[in-house]
């Protein structure tokens, strides 16, 4: 099964199980969770079932194309089922069958792995899924998102596509994967890995990233009308009504901030104490977006409640 056939099989499987098939986000994200199809839709009462590929960037994981397992950009297949159905594990195991893997012939285990994104103010409980000792997926029941309790709870499945493809194709080097007949993963990404590693570790302009971080941070506040002064108990205060806030552009700016922070981190430009401060700043912005999103959906009467689009 080629890399692209793997993606197609998952798309087909989850489409058949009532998921909207949508596209990756067009900005730099560290994981499929950052895509607004997950981060924003996990908030509030509206049901939501969605699946998509997410090319995910982790600047510190870059290895100049020299390590057979580590990449600064890899591909996740992300599935959100909200509310999490009781048969979510069975659905997941069935999806493995769709990839030609019979779970009973292997050792499949659900190993505790709680997930937390400090920058998104999000966390959940769940597992990593092991297939014969190989971690092929992460499985999370979202408990909080942007600092808000998730009600109902979303179930998130994240497939590590490179890992699974290496397993299916029986290769030890990610660059040897067949993306499509005659085209290897290395043909597409080996040079890219070297360029991005060199950029992230050596050449990214530190002052530029810092400035961009700060400019986008201001932009978030402006687009949401976020006020400096907090309310009771540290509550966020906004100078704009929910429907006047530009939440999607603001969230885009949060993603930018998070990305510039990651580049600065890879570049070794952030000390331990500064690190915590940067994370706290992004978390505050994510929270402002999350609260705004909830208020706006509420003002709109939670339009997707009870829709067929979101439920099988």
């Amino acid at each position: 099964m080629t890399f692209q056939e793997l993606i197609l099989a998952l798309e087909r499987f989850w489409a058949n199980h009532g998921c909207l098939i949508v596209q990756p986000y067009n900005s730099e994200v560290g994981a499929g969770t950052f895509n607004p199809h997950t981060f924003l839709r996990a908030i509030g009462p509206e049901p939501w079932n969605v699946a998509y590929v997410e090319p995910s960037r982790r600047p510190t994981d870059g290895r100049y194309g020299e390590n057979p397992n580590r990449l600064q950009q890899f591909h996740q297949y992300q599935v959100i089922l909200k509310p999490s159905p009781l048969d979510i594990q069975d659905l997941y195991l069935e999806s493995l069958r769709a990839l030609g893997t019979d779970p009973s012939r292997h050792d499949i285990r659900f190993i505790e792995d709680d997930w937390e994104s400090p920058t998104l103010g999000a966390w959940g409980l769940g597992w990593q899924v092991w297939l014969d000792g190989l971690e092929i997926s992460q499985f999370t029941y979202f408990q909080q998102c942007g600092g808000l309790d998730c009600k109902p709870v979303s179930g998130e499945l994240t497939y590590g596509l490179e890992r699974i493809a290496m397993y299916l194709q029986d290769v030890d080097d990610v660059y040897e994967l067949q993306w499509a007949p005659g085209i290897r993963y290395g043909d597409l990404y080996k040079r890219a890995e070297w360029e991005w590693s060199t950029y992230n570790f050596e050449q990214a302009d530190i002052e530029l990233q810092k400035r961009l971080f700060e400019e986008y941070e201001k932009q978030v506040a402006a687009l949401l009308g976020l006020l400096d002064k907090r309310g009771k108990g540290g509550a966020l205060r906004f100078g704009r009504e929910p429907l006047e806030r530009l939440i999607l552009p603001a969230y885009d700016a949060v993603i930018k901030c998070s990305h510039y922070f990651n580049v600065l981190d890879a570049r070794g430009a952030i000390s331990v104490t500064e690190r915590q401060r940067y994370i706290g700043r992004v978390r505050l912005l994510a929270r402002a977006v999350a609260e705004s999103w909830y208020s706006q959906r509420e003002a709109l009467g939670f339009p997707l409640s009870g829709t067929a689009a979101a439920a099988e």
Binding site: N69, D114, D132
Partner: protein, 702 residues
């Protein structure tokens, strides 16, 4: 005949540690709730069982029903309840209604305080299944987990989502609902090997039915089977299992039925230190290592506890591949680390925070280097070796391999140091300075390691106490109690003595440039008290709290071995037959003289007989006792005291009245006793030792 009760809660895969935790709380809550519901019989037996997918409770010996309840309940005064004509007032009606009876059922009872209304209440005991149905939802909600979660639209929280509940009393379902799941008789077998629903006819067939469905539900039984399979597996590989109790506890609740699949890796990876290979296997993959013989070299094989093993070759192949990549990563880290000597990493420690107000690890290392020099000089150890070990002891924190496997700190520092050709005594000290890590761990055996270990701990203690980070109650985030205990144990069991007072003062001085601490005097006295508390806690069970207090009282807070010598000496004489009377006599001497002035004894004023005998005998042995005390030959000193002064002081108290009218004679007498008390107190505070007989207090005239 009582029936067996079974409760099983079927869940998605619980983390291994949750299973233990949940089963404990399940049992405790069941004991409490069953007791409150008065369902107990004498032979009540509760047993919990569990796997990652189920938590189960079996109760044997439940009473078939609650006992009936007869009770007389006292109500309002008769006069408030009935008017003089005997007609009921509101109070009577209210009381009757509350207890569900007619007013005519109320009775009069005469008491000391007058007549009162009473009612006889009789409540027939409810059948057990009815009572269980009411307490089971509560029992389920009381099961606790290290972390709980919500799922779907459910409002309850649990360790993982709940899928089914079995609740059977004998062969009947005890009906109740929890987390939107209705209790029934359907369970499930192994997720992959017996995926269909399984109906139980009765509670007693539970374990057997599950065993047939590939679930060994009893944790102890499952562990037994797993260990047996592991030993067998190791044997097949021609080796022995590397014991790992922590890993065994983890693995046993990662599976419902334990299978063991062996795997292997390239021999070339055995060039890595054993500790690295073992850490890679256990931390990342939860594999057991196998050695050629106990303590012998590692084999290039491992044992993997799995949940399903229909195709062991496929499983082994997959796991081998994962392990190969993991070991290759580890080898890469080690090779990268070897490109630069350990000393090159010191620069990086300058940017690692030790504690935000106490500065960086780089600064800590510089202080350690200063502190070990003083310690080494005192104990006659190799000063330069100690300084070198102190300088390098934290360097491996900046290596890639320790970043990946923090538990290899010290161990890898030693390995890299030996590779660089650094002297073995220094390399060993890099590893050993982390010891002892716990009560079961040994202290460093060589002086260099012991000295660095002491310096490291006192630096942390002085720093934290200096900024007010003092352990309180159960909160001890910097493990300061363990640090103090480590120093005490190193001095008492290891190769060097420790002078606590000097050590603390030196360590405080070393902070001068790095942090502003509370004044030395304050920190030293707080630590003196802290150490005394730790010593008492550590040794009181072995020697008795009174012996410790007696010795701590006489000890000046410097040499720990001096304290140890006192404790041993007192413990020794304590078993001697004459101890009791001796202790009583010295207690008296101390009590009577504690507020009186000391001074030279005037022989002219001594009364002939017991007083003169005591004074003369004391004069001849006083210097010997003092000499033995100052040379820390406390057992000798105490023997002298017992032999030379025992009988005379006893006779003295029998024959001589101390508190006479004549001022000069009395004061002289007190001076004699005072000096004796002081000399003996220099060894140990006898007045703090418990004695069986309480002596007559001579300060109170009869």
């Amino acid at each position: 005949m009582s029936s067996e009760f079974l409760l099983e809660i079927g869940t998605e895969e619980l983390p291994s540690s949750f299973v233990r935790h949940a089963l404990q709380s399940m049992k405790a809550s069941a004991v409490e709730l069953v007791g409150q519901a008065r369902l107990e019989t004498r032979a009540l037996e509760m047993h919990t069982m569990g796997t990652p997918r189920r938590l189960a409770l079996r109760i044997r010996g439940l009473a078939p029903s609650q006992p009936d309840r007869h009770e007389t309940i006292m109500g309002p005064p008769w006069s408030a309840a009935f008017d003089p004509s005997g007609a009921p007032r509101k109070a009577a009606e209210g009381f009757a209604k509350k207890h569900g009876v007619d007013v005519t059922a109320l009775r009069k009872q005469t008491t000391d305080k007058g007549d009162y209304v009473t009612v006889e209440v009789y409540e027939p005991g409810k059948p057990t299944h009815e009572v269980l149905a009411t307490i089971l939802p509560e029992l389920c909600s009381r099961i606790s987990f290290p972390k709980s979660m919500r799922w779907g639209t459910a409002e309850v929280t649990f360790g993982r989502p709940i899928h089914w509940i079995v609740s059977l009393l004998g062969d009947d379902v005890v009906d109740f609902e929890f987390a939107n799941v209705r209790a029934a008789r359907k369970t499930r077998g192994h997720r992959f090997l017996a995926p269909n629903e399984l109906e139980l006819d009765r509670a007693t067939q539970y374990e057997e039915a599950l065993a047939a469905a590939h679930v060994v539900v009893d944790v102890a039984r499952r562990k037994e089977r797993m260990m047996e399979a592991l030993r067998h597996g190791a044997n097949e590989l021609g080796g022995v299992l590397q014991p790992d109790p922590f890993l065994a506890d983890e693995c046993v609740s990662l599976v419902e039925e334990p299978f063991v699949v062996p795997g292997s890796f390239d021999d070339a990876f055995l060039e890595l230190p054993d500790a690295v290979v073992i850490s890679v296997m256990r931390n990342h993959q939860r594999y057991f290592a196998v050695r050629e013989s106990p303590g012998g070299p590692l084999l290039s094989s491992y044992l993997n506890v799995v949940n399903t093993a229909l195709e062991p070759e496929i499983i082994a192949k997959g796991n081998d591949r994962v392990l190969r990549a993991r070991l290759a990563d580890a080898r890469f880290f080690v090779e990268e680390d070897l490109k630069a000597p350990l000393s090159d990493r010191l620069r990086k420690l300058e940017s690692v925070v030790f504690q935000s107000r106490l500065g960086t690890m780089g600064a800590k290392v510089r202080r350690l280097e200063a502190n070990v020099r003083a310690l080494a000089e005192q104990s006659g150890a190799d000063v330069e070796a100690c300084a070198a070990a102190a300088r390098l002891c934290k360097a491996d924190l900046e290596t890639l391999i320790v970043y990946e496997f923090p538990e290899l700190q010290g161990e890898m520092g030693r390995w890299y140091a030996l590779r660089e050709g650094i002297d073995a005594s220094i390399a060993d000290a890099i590893r050993d300075h982390y010891s002892p890590q716990g009560a079961d761990d040994q202290v460093p055996r060589q002086p260099v390691g012991a000295i660095v270990a002491v310096a490291d701990r006192i630096d942390t203690l002085v720093g934290c106490f200096g900024i007010g980070l003092v352990p309180s109650g159960s909160a001890d985030p910097f493990a300061l109690r363990r640090a103090a205990l480590g120093i005490i144990r190193i001095a008492l069991e290891g190769p060097i003595d420790v002078d606590l007072r000097e050590l603390t003062a030196e360590a405080h001085g070393a902070y001068a440039k790095d942090a502003s601490l509370a004044p030395a005097e304050e920190v030293c006295s707080a630590l003196d008290e802290f150490f005394r508390g730790r010593i008492r806690a550590m040794l009181k069970d072995e020697h008795g709290a009174d012996v410790l207090d007696a010795c701590l009282g006489a000890w000046d807070g410097t040499s720990l071995r001096d304290l140890q010598a006192r404790i041993e000496a007192v413990a020794e004489v304590r078993d001697a037959p004459e101890f009791e009377t001796l202790a009583i006599a010295f207690k008296r001497a101390f009590n009577i003289t504690k507020d009186s002035a000391r001074g030279a004894i005037d022989p002219e004023l001594l009364e002939a007989g017991a007083e003169t005998t005591l004074a003369r005998r004391f004069a001849t042995v006083r210097d010997q006792i003092r000499e033995a005390t100052s040379e820390r030959r406390y057992a000798d000193a105490l023997k002298l005291v017992a032999k030379e002064l025992g009988a005379p002081i006893d006779r003295f108290f029998d024959d001589v009245f101390v508190m006479v009218e004549n001022d000069a004679v009395r004061e002289n007498r007190l001076r004699l006793l005072g000096e004796i008390a002081d000399v003996v107190n220099g060894i140990a505070h006898f007045h703090q030792l418990a004695t069986k007989l309480q002596g007559r207090d001579p300060s109170v005239p009869a």
